[in-house]
Symmetry: C2
Subunit: 517 residues, 2 copies
Amino acid sequence: MAKPKKTARPKATAPRGFIDTPAAEMRATAAMIARIQQVYESYGFEPLDTPAFEYTEALGKFLPDVDRPNEGVFSIQDEDEQWMSLRYDLTAPLARYVAQNFERLPRPFRRYAYGPIWRNEKPGPGRYRQFIQFDADTVGTDAMTADAEICMLFSDTMEALGIARGQYVIRLNNRKLLDGVLEGAGLAGEAHAGTRLGVLRAIDKCDRLGIEGVRALLGEGRKDESGDFTRGAGLDLDAVTPLIAYIEAGREGRSATLDALRPLVEASEIGREGLEELARIDALLSAAGYEADQVAIEPTVVRGLEYYTGPVMEAELTFEAHDDEGRSVRFGSVGGGGRYDGLVARFKGTQMPAVGCSVGVSRLQAALRHLGLLEETAAAGPVVVLVMDHADVVRYQRLTQTLRRAGVRAEMYLGTAGMKAQMKYADKRQAPCVVIQGGDEIAAGTVQIKDLVEGARLSETISDAKAWREGRPAQVSVPEAEMVEAVRRVLARDDAEAASDAGDGSAAAHALTQDQG
Amino acid sequence: MAKPKKTARPKATAPRGFIDTPAAEMRATAAMIARIQQVYESYGFEPLDTPAFEYTEALGKFLPDVDRPNEGVFSIQDEDEQWMSLRYDLTAPLARYVAQNFERLPRPFRRYAYGPIWRNEKPGPGRYRQFIQFDADTVGTDAMTADAEICMLFSDTMEALGIARGQYVIRLNNRKLLDGVLEGAGLAGEAHAGTRLGVLRAIDKCDRLGIEGVRALLGEGRKDESGDFTRGAGLDLDAVTPLIAYIEAGREGRSATLDALRPLVEASEIGREGLEELARIDALLSAAGYEADQVAIEPTVVRGLEYYTGPVMEAELTFEAHDDEGRSVRFGSVGGGGRYDGLVARFKGTQMPAVGCSVGVSRLQAALRHLGLLEETAAAGPVVVLVMDHADVVRYQRLTQTLRRAGVRAEMYLGTAGMKAQMKYADKRQAPCVVIQGGDEIAAGTVQIKDLVEGARLSETISDAKAWREGRPAQVSVPEAEMVEAVRRVLARDDAEAASDAGDGSAAAHALTQDQG
């Protein structure tokens, strides 16, 4: 092939922190999305899509990483000098949409949304700058029934994705409890805003650092294993004690946890309010049959986003797994949510209560794959029509179109190579069978259908090469007019075998491929 | 509700040129995507997703608007100083992907991709800065069978979307013919590159300006109705004459057009090559049964993107329609494609022939909607469980969960309003029926199911208010244990009616809702 003149060539790579998604993974994502969508739709949520860009001022600054309030987003200045940013979640755009369409939306307004979001963060292993979230939100009611439903939805979603009870837990808390216990520790008021933030961040690290680590961060500070010192919130013992008691208030059941929390927060009005809300959610969950292994109350759940005002929840994968080197792996949070009563008010000036949750699809998918739990759906590869005579391509094109029109996924071999390479191509494409029409077949008005799946199976049992060639196993000759029917018989047997081999998962994958094309 | 303190509030609006997609439209888009996907999959193409960003140098500068080679894309400088841009089509990222994964891809590699692309252009009515494209490409073969297949795929896609034969046409041409005729007009070689570009742009405007307009643009220039003057390519009559003959070479059939083109380009080698390629595609199309009303050869098709090297095609909607004010509306191009043998070579240094097409989903959807051809699928709204006693919400939550677990889309009313407002909410949500359980029903262990669809129908025939109230039409009382079954009976009747009212379209919409959730 001709070489173009040598100039500096661009690197063939996606920008750092961005990845491609090839076919098998895309089919797996589509299957996940369809399952989540089915749960969300069953709850009555309606789809909504908003664009990738929002005005920067509309998005606000709610990213978790409070050290860098101006970073974390991709922003661009438009020609009219206004700054726009790529959405970093699906909640801020929803708040803008509701404020914009306030008058004509049903109230409450229940919407779901999925799609990519972008975070301008330092990429690392498994840490990307574009990923998919799948959110559901109820806007326009402050009833705790809405919060309880989000917990149920979250739990149903995990189980719909094949994560069994006991392998995940929805961890529920209330920001108002945190406010109450901070008040009890003498940290109410504007003057202590910075300290409160430090305390919340320390509590948030409880899973990772353990109670002694948090105790150090609440006090003077903590030196980690590498010797690095993190300055603490600087609280004295009187303030630290109630906070530690709060952190340790988690019990086996939801009611028991609420009972343990009560004495720690009931001195404060906001604390009592938080307790009452959680008690209400607990009652609704219990009546609907959701137990503590599905939705637990966990005092250490903080959730980073500053806009949460009430109940917060987090979906966590709890099972341990081992990576290729046998090391223990925990995946932790695969989604979060909570109540954010002030977000729409940023635009409208009046409160518009709202609650919702977000499933991290990319993250969850990575976790499931790593654990071998993901259906890596073998694509139903196309039937490949071999080209036995490159001068007579029109003939093979016609056979191919006949198959396609009958609804059979089919390809004619488009290269210039011979028979052997064509068979190799068909294997690579995971073709269930190939269609062969050489000179003999043309003369006889027939085609040969070679079943590659059956052939592979038989090749394990027949060792005599001569018997193999003469017997032409897994190959049938039919009149050309019966080609479609014969191919369909092969596909039907493959489908049945795949379903009985792999159980429900693979059958679902085939159904997906057929429904969606 | 409490008013937060007054500060400058952000505007509740999406950035200019960006739009939201509410539920009905999203469902319509999903239905379109599913149909296109079904066609693409039947041809053996496999899905691929690439990220929104590419390195700017990897994308190259192939945007149609040659006046602004550095504009038209959204670009951002990363922290490591490298420039990244949002993809402006799905072809450039494919070229990067193929170059990056060259060794391990089947060859030819057939992939489809859909998703948003971004163009940093001046927004206007119906002109957005983010829209959806759906592409299919075959990389790694220069066989015209691949190009012929793209034409067939394009045609099949239009018809799968409900656009009848005669309402659309795939217009096929070859860049090599244009090169040949330019050579014939004495415009070969580097020295004439600028002039050639001007000529191509003039030819591209033939549809809009007519032959005399193009003649003016090939010569001195053209004054439009507003008096604005556009400078022409400055050709003399000897050069203009063969170009005009070329432009007018379109005939009724593909062979007739090729015959008319032959004397105009056969003096040039590249022209002969182009003719031969089109003749080959024509033979394949004819053998597969695609006629000239489906795929026509049209000498004036240029396609803007500079990377095309051979056959180019354009999907055009040909029927006239009328807008709300009775004005005639034509939608023109809803997709395009062609062969681009040099795009992968930008990275690899060796040629990697490729051909593909792109359907403008957003554009096509807008056209179909405008013409009333789009199924605006009425969502199957959720069953709404009314809250007759707000203190007893747990009871209604349980009824709702029972419905959801049985696979019925259901919602409990989450607001605080009374019966009348709840019925209004149910109407707004397009609920097929509501479930009512007041004190009497609780005592009797029953629920009332009120069929809103049937009720609306009956309300047109029953005018006696008293008879209406007493008869309780379209309302049944069943034991609570039979609620699911009774609701299912209502849904089944609604589905059957919708299918018989609206024919295939609505039934397909229901199927979509059910399959995808």
